[in-house]
Symmetry: C2
Subunit: 448 residues, 2 copies
């Protein structure tokens, strides 16, 4: 039962009940929440709470709640279940969701579950399981309602009425030919306002091209976004209808896609907000280790100029400024590119323009802040040479940062390395090395 | 006309036509694309191309394409139009989209447009304009189909058939009482399978609570996500029906919300991938300037230890390592928190647990990498004191980073400052200052 408007109040009451540890109240309150709200409650609870909440669920709620949980968390609960219990739950879900779940489970368990399912269910699930969940086929549900183009609308209406219930998000019935190939869509909103006497052929929409089963999930999401679809038919290479994808699964794809850029650029990996210490520490440690390597590279650059630093210790005081400004400017460019790529905005035609833009921005902001830093540094250490040196180094580094931030992701993509993931590390190495090298190098020229 | 499957091929042909400058072909190809695809084509073109493409549009395409364009870009085109042309276009759009557009325009222009609209349209638009676009009221469309609970379904079906066309994404008709207050929903999928003889009251879903007009857009989005809604009714404080929100607008909210964390943490602001140099440079310059201030603070810390650095120049070589490791670790914690907040996962009950988790992760990874650095530094400079000093500083800084990254966004939120926007700057200042202070401070103790 769904109580969206009430849910906030109830979640608050739940918080109190949980803190108070009055599990009876918690169970009652949870009975009133929608599966989505319960899933949200569980995933926004630290691990110790989570199993308590799960235990308190009524069995008939489990399937829908599981379906709303983030994959990682869902699998934790699933792996603790018996195959029979699993198959039972799985029977209650749309088969795209079932496929999602089974894809994540150990094969042994998956097979056990498939065995205890009935013929027909198994056949349908196995179609979807045939595709990985990052292509259209893996996102689709096979329960579709299909009609023939030569039917009259009144026949369609009678046919629909024979169903006890229609699949979720049925905004259109799918028109297929004898060979079960996709022909067009008959939107329900057309069906409802049209004269029952006319034929499907006269009213169907044939301008909506179906989605090939192997189309990448992100591209599917973009087509849904661009065309405001609620559902879309999925076909195989011969144009035969396989199933349909619905907006609710696309919303998840969009979330995960957007989340990927953020977590990758921040070097945390796809992490559950409430992962335990022992789960979190190693994932982050790897990135810290990689950063340590790049930091040592930067240090070895500084090491070349020990002599200069001993002579002009002010260099040691100012050098972090050059590196840090380069790091920020580079991250700005990198993020714009990574974001543009995720939105599918970057292509051969415009990447040259982008690199040029980033270079120019580097020049302008380089000159702007270099002059500020030059004056500040000169006055601080009463040494105008120092001011000139840091200004020159800053301009060099900001231009390098801008160009690198734009070119790097394009190169990484060509090498099919994830730009968001690898970009930040390489970038900061470049801006650190160039920053220290230009600053200390120029200083050596002028002071030694 | 929509050609999703063909769109990629066509976009490629367009690219060639554009590069070749054969505008005739471009115009023809654009005629075949869906508004979404055209909008995507325009927004993924550098500014010089954009106006060319816009000029090539057929007038009847303009309204739908505008509707699919990102706000910033849309306004560029709108502001070049005559009020009459605008009003004409605006007449073709859903009124939530119209409201979006008018909210962005200069008031003078808005009023001119409203004046040239007809009575009824204006009244409806003004309802929506009464709400800012970051609350439910600003997202809603007022064209709803309402029925009474005592109607028989056959009456509803006849009533629907009287419409030439139903509003987009009509997955349910809204049931209201005499006072026009929301009573429940009659899903179309129920309507289609139910016996026409029964009454709306028997079949309607009363468990779906409506959305209050003042509910924040992000919370509305979460409810759609959690409950897999296609549309939801919006009510005022007296429960009177104001309109409905549809999933296509929610998808945009989710995109923007996710995008906000990314762009804020990267300090680029909500920026169009293809903004011109003069538009981009100043926005980024501000953040570089702020970073410059914090960098000078870090430098002034180093400045305190000139004497120590002159004596042990290796300190200058190694100090960036301590700062950089702290920066990465802090960003990891900060991002996890900012992301958790955006997803509504963080609350009083779990924030304590999170801070503790981040501290512990800091301890573990601190000890791990400190020992590595200690050995590396000691061997590099053949000085075990140096190894001990940097190890101690690194542990101190990684713990500080973890705790600050977790506590800072919570504090900023209490002060209702955007954690994503301000978090990064404050964080790196802390990790730089603590990094240099602990490293050089300890070194001074041991060497002076």
């Amino acid at each position: 039962m769904n109580t969206a408007a009430g849910s906030q109040k109830q979640l608050d009451r739940l918080d109190r009940a949980l803190s108070a540890g009055t599990l009876g109240d918690v169970a009652n309150l949870m009975g009133e929440l929608s599966p989505g709200d319960i899933a949200h409650l569980i995933s926004s609870s630290p691990p110790p709470f989570r199993h308590v909440l799960w235990q308190l669920l009524e069995p008939e709620q489990e399937a829908d709640v599981l379906n709303e949980l983030p994959d990682e968390l869902r699998n934790v609960f699933l792996e603790e279940m018996q195959p029979e219990a699993l198959a039972d739950i799985v029977g209650k879900l749309d088969d795209d969701d079932v496929a999602d779940i089974l894809q994540e489970l150990p094969d042994a368990l998956t097979n056990q579950v498939l065995e205890v399912m009935d013929e027909q269910d198994r056949a349908r699930i196995e179609t979807v399981l045939g595709y990985s969940d990052d292509v259209a086929g893996g996102l689709m549900s096979t329960d579709t309602i299909t009609v023939r183009a030569d039917m009259k609308l009144e026949v369609v209406l009678r046919y629909l009425r024979r169903h006890a219930v229609l699949p979720e998000n049925t905004d259109a019935v799918i028109v297929v030919n004898r060979k079960d190939q996709y022909v067009g869509l008959l939107p329900v909103r057309t069906l409802l306002v049209s004269d029952p006497g006319v034929s499907v052929r006269e009213m169907m929409d044939t301008t909506r091209d179906p989605i090939p089963a192997m189309l990448p999930a992100t591209e599917v999401a973009r087509r849904f976004e661009r065309n405001d679809w609620i559902s879309a038919p999925v076909i195989d290479d011969d144009g035969a209808l396989l199933g349909r994808i619905t907006i609710d699964d696309i919303v998840d794809v969009i979330r995960e896609e957007a989340d990927h850029s953020l977590t990758s650029l921040a070097r945390i990996g796809e992490e559950d907000t409430f992962s335990t210490v022992l789960h979190t520490a190693p994932r982050r440690a790897i990135w810290l280790g990689i950063n340590l390597l790049t930091a040592f590279i930067a240090s070895s650059v500084i090491n070349l100029f020990q002599g200069t630093i001993e002579k002009v210790v002010a260099l040691a005081v100012l050098m972090p400024i050059v590196a840090s400004m380069g790091g920020i400017a580079g991250t700005q460019s990198l993020t714009v590119l990574v974001r543009g790529m995720a939105m599918g905005h970057i292509n051969k035609r415009n990447e040259g323009w982008l690199i040029g833009r980033e270079a120019m921005v580097g020049v302008l902001n380089g000159v702007l802040w270099a002059s500020v830093v030059a004056v500040a540094a000169s006055l601080w250490f009463d040494d105008w040479t120092l001011g000139f040196v840091i200004a020159a180094a800053l301009i060099i580094n900001l231009i390098t940062a801008g160009v690198t931030g734009a070119v790097l992701p394009l190169i990484l993509q060509r090498l099919s390395i994830d730009p968001a993931l690898a970009g930040g590390v390489v970038l900061t190495t470049v801006t650190d090395v160039v920053g220290f090298l230009s600053f200390l190098g120029l200083a050596t020229l002028f002071y030694m």
